[in-house]
Subunit: 261 residues, 2 copies
Amino acid sequence: MDQSDRPNEREREAALPNKSAVPISLVTIKAACSQCSLHELCISEGLSKEELAKLDSLVGARRKLKRQQNLYRAGDPFEALYAIRSGFFKTDVLLEDGRDQVTGFQMAGEILGMDGIGTEVHSCNAVALEDSEVCVIPFAQLEQLSREIQALQHNFHKVMSRELVRDQSLMMLLGTMRAEERLAAFLLNMSQRFTTRGYSPAEFHLRMTREEIGSYLGLKLETVSRAFSRFQEEGLIAVQQKHIRIIDGAGLKRLLNARPR
Amino acid sequence: MDQSDRPNEREREAALPNKSAVPISLVTIKAACSQCSLHELCISEGLSKEELAKLDSLVGARRKLKRQQNLYRAGDPFEALYAIRSGFFKTDVLLEDGRDQVTGFQMAGEILGMDGIGTEVHSCNAVALEDSEVCVIPFAQLEQLSREIQALQHNFHKVMSRELVRDQSLMMLLGTMRAEERLAAFLLNMSQRFTTRGYSPAEFHLRMTREEIGSYLGLKLETVSRAFSRFQEEGLIAVQQKHIRIIDGAGLKRLLNARPR
DNA sequence: ATATCGTATTGACATGGATCAAAGCGACAG
DNA sequence: CTGTCGCTTTGATCCATGTCAATACGATAT
């Protein structure tokens, strides 16, 4: 695989995507969008120097989370959005009867917490799936600043809208696809998002369990496991626990499109 | 049923929710949020007189759609949001292989088109399920005005966020519920939304086919039909084609919560 | 090394919903 | 009134995925 010039997913931890040379670990504790290597993925995208400076002064401290720690829980009062600086999260919703559903997996550069805007209360749980760090963006101040900075306002609207579109795809997946199609779509989506962040499109480490994947895809963990095994038998991927190598990406894509039923 | 003091869903057509006395048919063709009976449900909620006036001047003409007409299609350039003034819509997404999925049903007071903000292109189709009318809200101008009017900005953000939360519930439904639970959830949701608009919570007319309901709920039309029949046998509802009367709403709710698996 | 614990794999079987097929019903045109 | 068309209902069967259970694997601790 084309691993040579890309950081290995396995040991990357807080390492940077290769599009920047600034190591995160040396950056000050206070968030600084102006210096952030992710800012092309984030709401700071396309802002001028002065605008970035204003955003810097808005964005509060960073917050570190250990694996399995909650960033927020359903029912928590909503105060801020969170930009993921490093790490990996899941969001999930709990039903009274104990059933739950993972509604998304989020990685560096993505925004968490928008579910709380409408009701002032978070509607889902956000949990770190590995040690992670987020920038805290107090929402009232974000609204205020985005009244001053058109580009910021528009970026924010775009992020929310893209989230709506993402949800549409997931509904499509949950409503119309069979187990193997769902998993293929999931793997391709992961691959694509890792690629955007400068990692290998073909080899990555899943941070979530089979059960979490299953919950996200509306399947049982056994079905997920079987589908992985099947893909492996067919030479589409190599699986070793949470380590995935995509051997035949085109084959996975074919699984998605060639299902007339 | 508590029909006496509420308009009958069957014949209401363009009639108003009973919270207002202004008949729509007499209102000028140009949209006027300041006079709109729905404005408590819409982005104009809570604005002052002067702010409403500004919004009026922004909101473009209204647009009438006949049943089955598209408001927009996937791929259309995004220019405006649409506030539903009267009528009933569905949104759906098409896959290359012909499969499609209804992603939502929208009624008066709700906003359509937000899927297009992120990419400047609509990602789904919006189709009128009955003769309908929408207010056209040019988006660039909405952004501009919401930089001036804090309440407008916040309303808009709330609407988008609530849409995200709605999508979460649908994912939950598609990912974890069985056929009858899905349909019960659907009926209760419809009932609740009709209620908000001043109609009977217990009796309403569905504008969509069994197939569209099925597509929305991730089920086949036969399964939807069978579930309706089952509910009727059990005395939960009375169905006659598209006309639904909820007899035992509590029973429907029980179906939702009491399923430990 | 060995024990333990969470996670993953695999097999055997059960079942809910899909599929296929045939009527039934209501609205509308002629 | 009669025929047509789209939609809905209902029945018979099939199959993908869920369920239950056993085993395996890998990391960590002892």
